[in-house]
């Protein structure tokens, strides 16, 4: 449901900026880091010649060879475990988990091993590993290939979690993830790989824990992640036409979370809707809503509202699947209600 025609709100204007897709941005980030640091390697299923089923890695094996772009068996737990061990002993693995739905297979290696090694060892060992995976529905891929499970990893101390929503953010966040000394899980929206946006030629990274204001507004705050940023921006456009000025904020990382940015925007606008494609129950929207409702308590004119994915396994049939994900229209309706414009 992301709109490829819309382009990223970030990083516009620099001389050496051109438009590339989110997919190209990720490939550039990996290529640059692979060139910069010989200990970086990519491991996953069909990451080499095939460049993944999404073709995001196409071309990397030609430049870096099969010892750094490593095709693995269909063993997600195994390659994640190997990633942890490799990271503990001098390498910087980028483990490719094709679909975020497969996190269920690797949660022990991520949450019990990768996330805890540094603390359990009294700070002596570290795990500079990246898990690249995906999220997002509406691809007609049904219940086991459409989930957005970032709430699971966001819950675990020791992990950092990034959710890029533009090509600019995707490149900058992935480069930061690879250079981070800790395990980082980065989620890419499968539907956004073709989204184009401005990305500077010159090198840059994006620090974790710094939210990005994707659109400035006065009347209501729309906090949105990943795939939902385009939804929020589209809703903001619609709201504009009815005289509601919406501010769109993208936390970019769920951990570390830029609580101040969320709270201060809500204090400024006095209203907030938090939007995320994960299941609503016990999901990321709950954390955002709780943080804002607490931090902006004395400034809110309306309760903070949550819009997550519908609490159902993602159905295959398009007519049903499209009902499960927040849309600009539904965000707009709710925002108008909160602002008393109905």
């Amino acid at each position: 449901m992301s709109t490829p025609s819309l382009t990223s709100a970030s990083a516009t204007g620099t001389a050496a900026t051109r438009e590339i897709t989110l997919s190209q941005a990720i490939r550039e980030a990996l290529a640059e880091e692979l060139r910069r640091d010989p200990t970086v390697f990519v491991i996953g299923e069909d990451v080499a010649e095939a460049g993944t089923p999404f073709k995001v890695l196409s071309g990397l094996v030609e430049e870096f060879g099969k010892t750094r772009i490593v095709d693995s068996p269909i063993s997600e737990a195994g390659i994640t475990g190997i990633g942890v061990g490799a990271a503990m002993t001098g390498m910087r693995p980028v483990v490719d988990i094709m679909f975020g739905d497969f996190l269920g297979i690797v949660m022990d290696q991520i949450a019990n091993q990768a996330a805890k090694v540094h603390y359990m060892s009294g700070g002596k060992l570290k795990v500079p590993m990246v898990i690249r995976t995906t999220l997002g529905a509406t691809r007609r891929s049904a219940a086991q290939h459409s989930q957005s499970l970032h709430a699971w990893v966001s819950h675990i101390p020791g992990l950092k979690v990034a959710l890029p929503s533009t090509p600019y953010d995707a490149k900058g966040l992935l480069k930061s993830a690879i250079r981070d000394e800790n395990p980082v899980v980065i989620f890419e929206d499968k539907m956004m790989y073709t989204l184009k946006g401005p990305v500077p030629e010159e090198e840059y990274t994006i620090p974790f824990g710094v939210a990005d204001v994707k659109r400035v507004g006065e009347d209501i705050t729309l906090v949105a992640t990943s795939s939902m940023v385009q939804v929020a921006l589209a809703a903001a456009e619609q709201l504009q036409s009815v005289g509601v000025s919406a501010e769109v904020i993208d936390p970019r990382t769920t951990y570390p979370l830029d609580k101040d940015a969320l709270i201060n925007s809500a204090i400024k606008t006095s209203r907030a809707i938090v939007i995320d494609e994960g299941y609503e129950r016990y999901g990321v929207t709950a954390e955002f809503a709780a943080v804002i409702a607490d931090g902006a308590f004395y400034y809110l004119d309306a309760p903070v509202k949550r819009m997550g994915a519908m609490d159902v396994p993602v159905p295959f049939s398009p007519v049903l699947e499209d009902l499960t994900v927040p849309t600009p229209e539904r965000v707009t309706e709710l925002a108008k209600t909160l602002c008393g414009r109905v």
């Binding site: 299923e45 069909d46 010649e49 095939a50 089923p53 095709d71 693995s72 068996p73 269909i74 063993s75 737990a77 195994g78 739905d101 497969f102 297979i105 691809r139 007609r140 891929s141 049904a142 219940a143 086991q144 290939h145 519908m310 609490d311 159902v312 396994p313 159905p315 295959f316 049939s317 398009p318 007519v319 049903l320 009902l323 499960t324």
Partner: protein
């Protein structure tokens, strides 16, 4: 849909002419079903993707031909063949693939999740290896409930990369569960030849747990069927699990969209299998050679199936989508 929902005859009648002709019809069904799935995809009338079973028909049909309707199977992302072989109705399958209310799962499952409890199909599965536990658990039930049913777990050789498969094979052997692991070695996992992802010996993986392994030519339905009958006999007798390793080949790409394949396998290789090792052609040849059927009779079956397929596609295209209210139904029983 004459055969829809019906199971093939019991193993002891497996040698009868009707049985073989039924199995030939089932292979034709699968082949033609998949060709229409590809059409529906190419003409953008089918949502999402599908993984075609064409070329592997003798495995699903040979194995399911040795099963009763009340036996269980679990299937994979490449599951249309297993589903048809176990007796599902073509039209209801198409309806599911198109996300229609009339589909086996009311359109909620789609290609990768078709299940049909009426014919004992516990479902396709979009998690590689994900159904190994389910099949073994179904076998556990059969034993606990004192039934002589068996459970068949179909999976591709790529699933041998998943640890779960080893965990459940160990328990199936420990507890002599009536489960048959059918490994369909179509030689590729997505876009990679299995020799690049599997070390040592595939059959030794199961043998290590004391599970008897039979390696069969997956293009020869007689070989597959005979091996399956042995495994079924063993399972029903309470003697425990078996492992069939069938070498086969998929004609199409990993999924319908996988058109450019030259970087991982040659046109020549693909042409060879279609020309020399086609399971339907091979079966047709010996049915004729052994005088089980005439070319004309086989052609009649093919054209009957052709009509059934066309009718199924039309039924599905005309069928209504589920009501929006369905979206929140059946999350809980």
């Amino acid at each position: 849909m004459a055969q829809a929902g019906q199971a093939p005859g019991r193993a002891e009648s497996a040698e009868t002419r009707e049985h073989w002709l039924y199995l030939y019809r089932q292979m034709q069904r699968i082949r033609q079903f998949e060709e229409q799935v590809n059409e529906l995809y190419l003409s953008a009338r089918m949502p999402g993707l599908a993984h075609l079973y064409s070329g592997e028909e003798a495995v699903a049909v040979g194995v399911c031909g040795a099963l009763r309707q009340d036996d269980y199977i679990t299937s994979t992302h490449r599951g249309h063949g297993h589903c048809i072989a176990k007796g599902a109705a073509i039209n209801l399958m198409y309806a599911e693939l198109l996300g229609k209310e009339a589909g086996y799962c009311h359109g909620k499952g789609g290609s990768m999740h078709i299940a049909d409890q009426q014919t004992g199909n516990l479902g396709a599965n979009a998690i590689v290896g994900g159904s190994a536990g389910i099949a073994t658990g179904a076998a556990y039930s059969n034993k606990a409930l004192g039934l002589d049913r068996v459970a068949v777990c179909f999976f591709g050789e790529g699933a041998l990369g998943q640890g779960l498969v080893y965990e459940v094979m160990n328990m199936a052997a420990l507890w002599s569960l009536p489960v048959i692991y059918v490994c369909e070695n179509n030689q590729y996992g997505e876009y990679t030849h299995y020799t690049e992802t599997q070390a040592g010996s595939l059959s030794a993986r199961a043998a290590a747990f004391g599970i008897p392994v039979t390696e069969v030519d997956g293009q020869d339905i007689r070989a597959v069927h005979a091996a399956a009958e042995q495994a079924v006999k063993r399972a029903r007798a309470g003697e425990g699990p078996s492992f069939l390793l069938a070498t086969t080949y998929r004609y199409y790409g990993h999924h319908v969209g996988d058109i450019q394949r030259s970087y991982y396998r040659s046109r020549e290789e693909e042409a060879f299998w279609r020309r020399e090792r086609d399971p339907i052609a091979l079966m047709g040849e010996w049915l004729e050679a052994d005088g089980v059927a005439t070319r004309a009779e086989l052609e009649t079956i093919r054209s009957e199936v052709d009509a059934e397929i066309k009718a199924g596609v039309t039924f599905a295209l005309d069928a209504p989508y589920p009501d929006p209210s369905e979206v929140t139904q059946d999350v809980y029983a």
